[in-house]
Structure formats: C-alpha cells, structure tokens
Amino acid sequence: MKGEHLGEFEELVLLSVRIMADDASGTAIQEVLETDAGRPVSLGAIYAALDRLARKGLVDSELGDPTPKRGGRRKRYYQVTPAGVTQLENSRRVRNAMWRRASEASSEERASR
C-alpha cells in the first residue's frame, strides 16, 4: 500500500472528479480520462480507485435522482473533499518544484556543452 501518498492513477481520477465538479459520476470520469488524459480506462478500475480515495477521505459521494437515461437507476456523484483538495495542491507543488529543478538541470547541461 502506498499509505497516504497518491498513486499516479489516483491523482488523475481525483483531478477528473474536480474537473467534472458537480457532475462527477463513474462514466463522466471515464470520459474525462479518455479525452483529457488520452487514456482509455475501464469503469472497474475507476471504481476501485474511487474506493481507495474514499477510504483515504479524499472524495465524498452522494446518490442522485434516478434518470430515464440510466434505465431509471440512481447515479452516484463524487466530489473532492477539502482533504482531497489539499492533497492535490500538495502534489502539484511537489511536481512544480521538481519540474523547475529538472529544467534548470537540463539548461545547465546545455550550457556546459
């Protein structure tokens, strides 16, 4: 287990939940991942990730009303909890910092040639 750290896939799913804001259902997340991340992912994998995120307290969910489009089934909407937002911000900060150092390193390399 990765403990409280976010896996890469979990991070993508969490971001997708955030992107879809009020409409983050399983299928919606799948679409975001397919279009934005260019990554075809199965619903099963998304549910598993959402379960893990829920267990870590990073997402929350509630059941919506049944719609005819879903054959009269209710829909579960996910949203990012404050803890989730912090986590996302965190990982972005880490990434940004690392990217900065990475580009410094590569420009130094170029300069030294």
Binding site: G26, T27, L43, Y47, P68, G71, R73, R74, K75
Partner: protein, 933 residues
C-alpha cells in the same frame, strides 16, 4: 451523452454480460454501477455503433468483475493483517470477516462473497501444497501440458480451418457453396453458362459468384520488371457478393463481365501491391503486362484479406472471367453454351437473400435443376445421363471444395481420437499419482476433518487443487498449441492459407478441457480421501489407503490405451517406410522440375519446339547440370490414356484395341530420369516430324502385346499413323506411388507437340541450389514465359507421401508420448506399492528372504498387471485396426511385425519402470522397516 436520446430506440446491452455484472457487483452498489454502465453503453452506441458498444460493454464488465475480485482479495488481506481469522482450518465456509473490509462497509454480505472467499482460500492453500511438493507438481504439470496441449493443438487446427470465418468477408454465415452430388460423390464444378443461369434466374440469392479454383502462373511486367505471379479468374460480382471493399480503387463492375476480352482490368492483392509496386498509393490506373497483354489495375484488396478457403493460397492477381483469354488463350470457348460443352471448371458460392433460409434456397435450386434437366433432355440422353442421378446441394461448407474438406475433416477426426486417447492416458496417470499421494495426505485431511471441516469442504479443497494443476497444465498446453499447431500444419498433406493462431475459442476450449480433466482425475482421489475414517487416519501413520482395485484398473486401462496408440504408430511408421522403399523405376534424386504453358504466351508448334530445343541447350550447358530433358507429364502429376491397336499380334481382344498411358518426351529423357532401356534406343533430335513415327514402350506394354517376342521393330497404330517401336523401357511408376506397373507408351515430343512442357534438370549436387540459375536461363530466353511449380521431383514424391508421413509422425509422436506416460504411471504405482509394503518386506527379509526374491516379487506383480493391460490393448487394437485400413500403404492392418513388437516394447517399458522400485524393495533394511511402526 446527447440529448437526442430516445428511450424507444435504445439498443440494450448484452444480457449475458448484465447477468455477470449483477453477480459480481456488491448488492449495495448495484444500482449506481448498473446506471453508469447503461449510460456509458448508450454513449458508445451513439459514438461508435452497436457492435463496438457490445464489445466494449463485455470488456468493461469483465474488467469490472476482475477489479471486484481484486478488491475483495485486498480487503480480505488487510483484514487478516489486522488480526482476522486464519484461513487454513476455517470451517464455517466464510473465513475472514469481510464486514471489516472497508469496501464492504454497510453492505450486506452475499452468498457469492462467502464462496469467493472459500475459493481464494482453497487456491492459496492449494498453491502452497503444490509448491511444497515440487517434484510431484512438475511431473503432473508436464503430463497435463502434454495431454491438454495435444488437444488444444488439434482444436486450434479445427478452429482455424473449420470454425473461423474468413476475415474481411461480410456476414460469411449467409454464404453457401454449390455442390453437385452424383454416384462419384460430391463435386463442385459448374460450366460458365450454367453459372450465368443460376446467377440470373434464381429467387433466393442476393448474389451468386463463381471462380476457377486453381491458380494460373503468369508473367507480370510493369516497366522493365518482370515477375512471376499467381492469377485467379473470378466472376465480375466476386467481391460484391463477398462484401469485400477494396483498400484502393474499386472492384469489378457488372459491365466488365459481359463480353469476352473487352475490359482489360485486374484487381491485385495487398501482398502483390506491396511486393511489386512497393505499396505505391497511385497504383490505380497503372498498366500491368500479363503474359504479354496490357491490363489496367483498378483495385487493391484490403490487407488481411486472404480470400475464402483456408487451404488455398490466395492469388496475387484477380482477373474477371471475361478476361481469362489473357492468361489461357483459346479458353473463350469455355464461356459458350452448355449443350455443346460439358466442361465444368467453376466453383459457385451464393449469398442468401435477406430472409431466405437455406432450406427454401435449396428448394429453389432443386426446382431450377429439374428445369435444367428437362431443357437439355436430348443432349443429356446422348451422353447417357440418367435423369435424377444428380442433384445440387447447397452447403454451409462453402470454404472448401468437398473433397479437400472431407479429407481434412477425416484426418483431423482421426487425430482428435488419438489426442483424446493421449488425454485419457494422462488422466489415468494423474489419478494414479494422486492416489499414490493420497496416503501421504491422509493425516492432513484427517486433521482438517477432525477440526470440523465438512466433507464437501474437503472435497472442494482437493478438487480446487486438481483444477489448479489442470489449469497450469492447460496454460502450458495453450502455449504449446501456439507453435505446435503451425508445426503440425506443415506436415499436413495440404498447404494452408490460414496461420494457426489460437484465439478466444481455443482458450475457452482449453479451459473447458482442463476443468473436465480435473474433474476426471481429481474427483475419485478427493472422494476417496474425504471418505476415509478420520480416527483411523489419526491413529496410523500410514495405511493401505484407497482400494487397490481402482488403481489396478487405471494401470491396466492406461497400458491398454497406450498399446492401441503405439500399435497405430507402428502401423503408420511401417506404412510410410514401405511407401518410401517402393521401387519407382526411375531415380527421383537430384532433379529439378519446371513447368511452362507455352500456349499462354503465344507460342505455336514451330516456335514452341524451338523454345524447348533452345532451353534444353541452355540448361544442359549450365555448370552442375548432368543432363536436361523435358516431357509432357511430371511424374505423379496428370496422365493421358488412350486406346490404340497393334496389328498382327496374338493379343486376344477381338478388335486388338488396348489402353495405355502416354507421355511425350524430349531426347535424353530416359537417361535423365534414370529409367533403364531394356532394348533398343531412346529418342534423339532426329526423331522429328520429318522422320518416321517412332515410340518407346515399357515392359508392361511389350509383354502385353508381344509376349516372348522382340518388341523393337513392331508396329502400333495410332491416330497419327503407324508407329514403329524403337525401344523398350523398364516399368516405372507414373501416376501414383502405390500403383501396379502400368502400361506406358512414350512418344517423341518433336513428333507430337504439346504446349505444356515440364523441363527436368538432373543435377550433380543439391538441385535447389541451381534453381536460381535455371530460372535465369528461362528469363534470358523469354522473360514473359511464366514458370509453374519450380521444385524437385523429391518434393513431388514427398507431397505424394504426405498423408502417410503425417500419420506416421503425428501418431508416432503421440504413441511415444503414451508409452512414456504409461511407464511413468506404472513406475508411480510400483513405487507407491513398494513404499506401502515396506513393513511386509522387512518382515520377509528378517525371516530370511533373499534380495533377489523380494525384487522378483515386485517385478512379478507388475508383470501381471502389465500382462492384463497388454492383452486388453492388443485385443482392442485388433478390433480398431479396421479404422485405419484405408490409410496404410503396402502392409496389412494386422501387420504381424507391429502386433508382435509393440507388446514386447510395452513389456520392456514395464520392466524398466519396475526396476527402480524393485531395487528399492530389495534394499529395505528389516530393522529400519520394523522400527517404523
């Protein structure tokens, strides 16, 4: 997810997938998950169409199930780590408390989850058991891999040839083949006018196509390049009926198939396009010179299209039927009316019109055929045709011509029986191994039972273990099938256009066979173990264990089955070797054969003879060539028989007519082919049209016509006139490896021209090494002449022997495997018996028994069992031998040598298998043995 969604036109997701989804999804989450799936499904339908959505839905459900299982497993592992129950001896059927698992929070636990847990538990436990005993596991997996792999291999072949639809053809299940059935069996030839009539007058088909089911070698030129290619002639609607759309350009249009030689167009295959045109995207409209005629490329077939038949190599070039004069000059007459032409050369395939069933199409065709019979009653009477003796049958087996199809089917059926027996032997073997092992596990099972595990639970656990073994073996078998199917296909007496890739069907078959296998070999030992008396187990460290009779029956059965297979193998090997050792009357070694059809390239008799003479000079002058010659026939390929008379002979027949085979041969033929001349001389270049007619006869003819007399100088009468016999050649086999010496008359090619010529180059070394140089010489003489079948005569004979060879190799292989398995089984049983008798042997040795006596008693026991098995096996083999009677060459199906030697081999194997256990018994230390108890 568009808003134009309309509930009334919703295509529903596949129902079976839905069932799976409902089974696997935890109840509390079912509504929302199902909702997501339904929503996603309709989005896929709108975006990519129904069939994509169905496939996607299946995949998503399968992955979802997988993820759920993984989730359960993780949750259970976490729960266990957090101090949950131990799984090993759990008896409740539920194991660890899943309610603790976060994924399950608040959800009612389903029956399915309980079972899943038992299963996971059993699998883990089973794995551990198997790992603990690697020797047993390895042997068991090996046996199963071979047994199941043999079946998967065969199924792969059946699947690729019979079950799979040819790729890129639209709705292949609506295609039906036309077959004529008469006294001589099924046939698939039709004349062109009949084809047109069926195509235009029927009421049942969306379309009927026709093609000539053999390829014609053509010389293709484009620019300065000349290449050899295979061409097919097909009806103009060929690609339309198949529903194949071109990757470039277009298919033939209807007006291109009405009048002969007016629309010089061709469609080329994807492979030829890449090879010859380097994949040029602007190929459409380019000109190809085919046998000297200019034709325009109008289309390229899509990549992956391999035509209809799995056993015919698809062509490079498709010509419309109306253009066949291009590659076969003079064949325009084949397109004429049917009442003066009984030529049948086309295969017909129809596509059933929407809503028409095979039965009603058949009724339609029956009526049409009756009309046909009455329309041509006069002509049919003149050829002694009996009305009603023939019918046309529509078959779903459109992929094969009926003879190849049934040949392949019977071959595969026989092989399936063989691999089935191999699997049975493997199963008996595994049962024996498991039974032998059961004694070692009685204590363990006893403990589990004592701790409260129900019998069902114990049986399930043991059965899971068997399934694990079988599935590991099955996986190995599937891997084996990957390459062995292709390997086996190269041995078959036909060439395959399909490659033998196992697919989902093969995987499903393998899993099915594995589970069935596990049921058969695992259930008996599991049942026996679970029945055992718990208290007794705990008391005694070892016991006599399961009943001896079951084990003996298994060993006897196994030996009997392997006798059957080894006998079969022996028969086929003997048959092949007797076919190989036939004296053909000529020397097939070191000879290259190349055929040409000079008439296709504008040669007449004069220029054709010049071409042959020039080529014989060129080829004879090549370094490494001993002698070059030519003839009309290739040995074993084609024949021509005719009646002639011989005046003034004592021959009994009143009109002095008799039948003989004929061949037209070039000078030096007999020398080159290694046929010895018994008398007289062979043909020279002087034996041409200006010289008297001459012939060489073989001994069979000479003895028939002029018994006891000198044949040289005698006269035979042919249509062309009186012909003088100038030589007598030794008999040889001409048409068939199996034939009796047939009559054969040789005529000089220079006196009786034929535009089809096969050149023979007798080489000093490996003939194929010269193939390139030989082809160069042809190209130098005339680059536009197409070369058919460049190959060695040994290859020709090899393909003649292929049916014998494939049986000898495959059945031999499986027979060897069976022998090996039976020996392993016998060894296992004897080892086990010796282990069980340690105490008894110890006592006997303590009482003064000799080592030799002890070993002897072990061997004797094994010989009794083997003897019974061998007896049963030989009896069964004698009964079954009838089955292969027609497939043997030159030996009886009750070949004494085979039936004597096979039991001896088995007996030797039995003694060998008993040797080690017997030695172990003789080394038993009485003191150790007695202290054991």
């Amino acid at each position: 997810m568009s808003s134009s969604f309309d509930q009334t036109v919703v295509p529903s997701p596949p129902a079976a997938a839905d069932v799976l989804l409902r089974r696997t999804c935890p109840a509390a989450k079912l509504t929302e998950v199902e909702g997501d799936f339904i929503e996603a499904f309709s989005a896929w339908v709108q975006r990519h169409g129904y069939s994509y959505a169905r496939r996607r839905y299946w995949r998503e459900v399968a992955l979802f199930s997988l993820w759920t299982v993984v989730g359960h497993f993780r949750a259970w592992r976490e729960a266990r780590r957090a101090g949950g129950g131990t799984e090993l001896l759990s008896t409740s059927g539920h194991g660890p408390d899943l309610a603790k698992a976060p994924i399950q929070r608040g959800a009612p636990r389903s029956r399915w989850e309980g079972m899943l847990n038992d299963l996971l538990q059993d699998i883990r436990y089973g794995m551990r058991t198997l790992i603990r005993d690697p020797g047993f596991t390895l042997v068991a997996v090996l046996i199963l891999t071979l047994g199941i792999g043999a079946n998967s291999t065969l199924f792969t072949m059946v699947n690729s040839t019979f079950l799979q639809d040819p790729p890129l053809i639209e709705a292949p299940e609506r295609l039906v083949g036309f077959t004529t059935i008469d006294d001589s069996g099924p046939n698939d030839g039709f004349g062109y006018p009949d084809y047109e009539w069926f195509r235009d007058e029927n009421e049942s088909f969306a379309g009927v196509l026709a093609y000539m089911p053999s390829s014609t070698a053509v010389a293709v030129g484009g620019g300065n390049e000349v290449a050899q290619a295979d061409a097919w002639v097909v009806s103009g609607n060929y690609f339309d009926v198949l529903g194949v759309s071109m990757s470039l350009g277009r298919a033939f249009s209807p007006e291109e198939s009405v009048t002969p030689n007016t629309h010089p167009v061709v469609v080329i295959s994807d492979g030829f396009w890449r090879r010859f045109f380097g994949g040029d995207p602007d190929v459409i409209g380019s000109t190809l010179r085919i046998n000297g005629n200019q034709l325009t490329v109008i289309g390229v077939t899509p990549g992956g299209f391999r035509d209809i038949s799995p056993v015919e190599t698809p062509p490079d070039i498709y010509l419309p039927i109306m253009m066949q004069g291009t590659i076969m000059p003079g064949s325009e007459s084949w397109l004429k009316r049917r009442d003066d032409n009984i030529l049948i050369w086309l295969r017909m395939i129809g596509r059933l019109a929407p809503g028409v069933s095979l039965e009603s199409a058949q009724a339609n065709v029956d009526v049409m055929f009756t009309q046909w019979e009455s329309e041509f009653a006069g002509w049919l009477e003149s050829i002694d045709y009996v009305v009603g003796s023939t019918r046309i049958a529509l078959t779903t087996g459109y992929k094969f011509n009926p003879r190849t199809g049934s040949q392949l089917a019977s071959l595969l059926t026989l092989l399936f029986m063989v691999v089935g027996v191999v699997l049975l032997i493997a199963i008996a073997n595994l049962s024996i191994l498991l039974l032998a092992r059961a004694s070692a596990r009685q204590r363990e099972v006893g403990i589990r039972a004592a701790l409260g595990a129900g019998r069902g639970r114990v049986v399930r656990q043991l059965f899971t273990e068997s399934c694990l073994l079988a599935l590991i073996g099955g996986t190995g078998g599937l891997v084996l099938a990957f390459w062995s199917a292709r390997l086996a296909s190269t041995l078959m007496p036909m060439s395959f256009a399909v490659d033998f890739q196992p697919d989902m069907k093969v995987a499903a078959f393998t899993v099915g066979v594995s589970v069935l296998t596990a049921l058969l070999f695992g259930l008996a030992p599991a049942w026996q173990l679970s029945r055992a008396d718990i208290v007794a187990f705990l008391h005694r460290g070892s016991s006599r264990g399961p009943r001896a009779s079951l084990r003996n029956i298994l060993v006897v059965g196994q030996i009997a089955l392997s006798i059957v297979l080894v006998t079969g193998a022996g028969l086929f090997v003997r048959s092949l070797s007797s076919a190989r050792s036939v004296d053909l009357g000529f020397d097939p070694g070191n000879k290259l054969a190349i055929s040409v059809q000079l008439g296709n390239h504008g040669y007449d008799e004069v220029t054709g003879n010049q071409f042959v003479a020039a080529m014989l000079d060129r080829l004879g002058g090549l370094p490494g060539v001993a002698v070059a010659t030519a003839s009309w026939h290739t040995p074993f390929r084609g024949m021509w028989g005719s009646s002639i008379t011989a005046p003034g002979t004592q021959y009994a027949d009143e009109d002095h007519e008799f039948d003989s085979g004929f061949n037209r041969v070039a000078p030096d033929y007999f020398q080159a082919m290694g046929i010895s001349l018994v008398a007289g001389r062979e043909f020279t270049r002087g034996d041409d049209t200006s010289a008297p007619l001459v012939a060489v006869v073989n001994e069979a003819v000479a003895e028939h016509l002029w018994p006891g007399e000198e044949a040289v100088g005698k006269i035979i009468q042919r249509n062309s006139g009186d012909t003088t016999v100038i030589g007598v050649a030794a008999n040889a086999n001409y048409y068939d490896v199996a034939e009796e010496p047939a009559r054969q008359i040789y005529l000089p090619q220079l006196q009786l021209y034929s535009s089809r010529v096969t050149f023979f180059v007798s080489t000093r070394g490996e003939p194929l090494g010269l193939a390139h140089a030989v082809e160069e010489q042809f190209r130098a003489q005339d680059p536009n002449v197409a070369l058919f079948n460049v190959r060695t005569i040994e290859d020709v004979i090899d393909s003649e022997l292929a049916p014998y060879r494939v049986m000898a190799i495959l059945v031999g292989l499986f027979g060897g495997l069976a022998l090996f398995l039976a020996s392993v089984g016998l060894y296992g049983v004897q080892s086990y018996l010796v282990a069980g008798r340690t105490r008894e042997i110890g006592i006997r040795m303590a009482l003064g028994a000799e080592e030799r006596q002890v070993a002897g008693s072990v061997v004797a026991r094994s010989l009794v069992i083997s003897g019974v098995g061998i007896f049963v096996g030989v009896a069964a083999s004698l009964a079954l031998a009838q089955l292969v009677q027609g497939m043997l060459f030159g030996i009886s199906e009750r070949d004494p040598l085979t039936f004597v030697s096979v039991p001896l081999v088995l007996l030797a194997a039995a003694i060998l298998a008993t040797f080690l256990p017997a030695r172990r018994a003789s080394r038993v230390d009485p003191i150790v043995a007695l202290r054991e108890e």
